[in-house]
């Protein structure tokens, strides 16, 4: 009896304490991961903007698992949120989640990674191609218009493919720059091995472009351990704090293309809030990345 009483008392207390958390209106956001500085900044910016606008916001983390992302979106639908923001785990696989939201009459905004084969109300993402062009232009400038360049890529991710395309396009204007190698290195450890191999195979490389911060930072380590720090310059993409610090302190890191997750998060919440108010929003909202070099 006392146990039952204690339990019901406990439940009531918890219910009163947490009752406010169970609201159902506003924005439901399903983010890819919370273990990457890019997404931490994105989520922080979303929370800050939601608070500033007074829009309720709930964030679920898919932990890179498409099945979890679908379950999170289903739960948002049952809760009855007004609009769903998704940063897809996979461009194509996210179709199922978008179709479910669509069937429930809930509008979807994608952020960072676009959805293939599915219409969403708006997409907010880095203009990766332009970022790639900027990286190529920076590389040409750093190398003085000539030299041999290697690329570390991630060919199954569309945003990275666009970066590399832009990078190659920019270098076409510089006939004396030759791209001698392009290999895949997804994690920092893989990128390190790939960069070492490329430097072994082509000891006269003078520039390396890493598709992301991890690839670039790994390449910088490989350059140093090969004793080539006076010869090789590395350019990265993403521009999180660690890479910006490396650009400031490590002469091998010539620069990094900087994405703006804070702008993306803010724009995503603004867009979602406008959708709730019934306003029209642009279908594509590219965020042009910046170039970060040593001050």
């Amino acid at each position: 009896m006392t146990f039952k009483k204690a339990l019901s008392a406990l439940l009531t207390t918890v219910a009163c304490g947490l009752g406010g958390a169970a609201h159902a209106d506003g924005i439901g956001a399903s983010l890819l991961t919370q273990q990457h500085p890019f997404y931490i900044e994105l989520a922080d910016a979303m929370k800050a903007q939601a608070e500033a606008r007074g829009v309720p916001l709930e964030i679920s983390i898919a932990n890179q698992d498409l099945n979890k992302q679908l379950a999170d979106v289903e739960d948002f639908i049952v809760k009855g949120v007004d609009v769903i923001v998704i940063s897809p785990v996979d461009s194509q696989g996210v179709m199922a989640a978008i179709a479910k939201a669509d069937a429930a009459g809930i509008k979807v905004v994608t952020v960072d990674v676009p959805a293939a084969d599915a219409k969403v109300t708006s997409h907010i993402g880095t203009d990766n191609y332009t970022g790639g062009v900027k990286a190529g232009e920076l590389m040409a400038e750093v190398l003085g218009g000539k030299g041999k360049v290697a690329i570390i890529d991630y060919p199954t991710v569309q945003s990275v493919v666009a970066r590399v395309e832009g990078f190659r396009k920019a270098l076409e204007a510089h006939p004396e720059i030759e791209i001698v190698a392009q290999q895949t290195g997804i994690t920092r450890a893989e990128a390190l091995a790939v960069a070492q191999n490329m430097l072994q195979a082509n000891p006269d490389i003078s520039g390396i472009f890493g598709f992301g911060d991890d690839a670039a930072l790994a390449a910088a380590v490989a350059v140093k351990s090969a004793g080539l720090q006076d010869q090789v310059k590395v350019i990265g993409f993403d521009g999180m704090e660690e890479a910006r610090n490396a650009v400031d302190t490590n002469p091998v890191m010539a620069g990094v293309i900087q994405q703006f997750p804070d702008q993306m998060g803010k724009t995503a919440v603004d867009t979602a809030a406008m959708v709730i108010e019934g306003q029209d929003v642009p279908a594509e909202q590219p965020i042009v990345p910046g170039v970060y070099v040593r001050k």
Binding site: A21, D65, E74, A96
Partner: protein, 325 residues
Amino acid sequence: MTQTTDTTLSAGREQLRAALHQYGGILVSLILLCVIFTVLNERFMTVANLTNILQQVAVVAIAAFGMTWVILLGEIDLSIGSIIAVAGMAGAQALAFGWGFAPALLFTLLAGAAMGLVNGVLTARLMLPSFIVTVATMGIYRGLVSLPTNGAPAMISDPAWTAIGSDSWLGLPIIIWIVVALFLFNHVLLSRTTFGRRAYLTGGNREAALYSGIKVDRLKIAIFTLSGVMAAVSGILLSSRLYSAQTNAGMSYELDAIAAAVLGGTSLAGGVGTMVGTLIGALIIGVMNNGMNMLSVPYFYQLIVKGLVILIAVWLDVRAKQKRG
């Protein structure tokens, strides 16, 4: 007449009491969780959300049915998550080759059976510990899944395949019918057939099983194969829910399947366990995931709470069993 009714009644009551004895601890945990979530969010106890939970739990529940067999034998199958991914990819590739729905389905199930068979043969015939065998095949299968597409996901547009994950029959999602059917199949096979009794006996006492003439090796191979087929069904459901085969699909789902089985009272030492318990265990995991989402619990806290609830539920169960002696 009255006599027989009385006996059936008391037999039924007896069964009910036995069931409460067996599942009391774990059932209390499930009901307690449901009560807490219902009190905290009025949308939790709705038909829409309950079907939602059942759909979300299907993939893990079916894999856990297979895992229960393996654990019953005192073995373990860590390759289940990878088999789920390979199955989805096998189906996607077969459909892409234009084989059509039924052949692709059969091919996928056979692929699952083959992968399970390999686990079983390596464990039983080469006398290797299943833990090591399936750690190795976990890696091998996870590598295999990436070969056809070089790591990229494969889209599935076959209407019949995707209907499994999104359509309903008699008002219930097909995916739930499949869980119910496979639950009944495994439950009857385990509790009502010689095959099931052999599994219990072998898991409880391998020597005794050998002396009583059970071909333990064959039984082991059959059970690993069954586990592979169950994982393949999970892979089919997952890929149909996602309209695509992901190369990282099912990553670490083997741990959820083990948790469901052990929550449900399956002993890692072998010889003890039921499908009813495993189903309840899987439901606890599903209810927790969904309920915490409904309450907007931040993700990292969800991980912590999930771990704690598993610990408490198993402790409650163990304590209840100790009390009974």
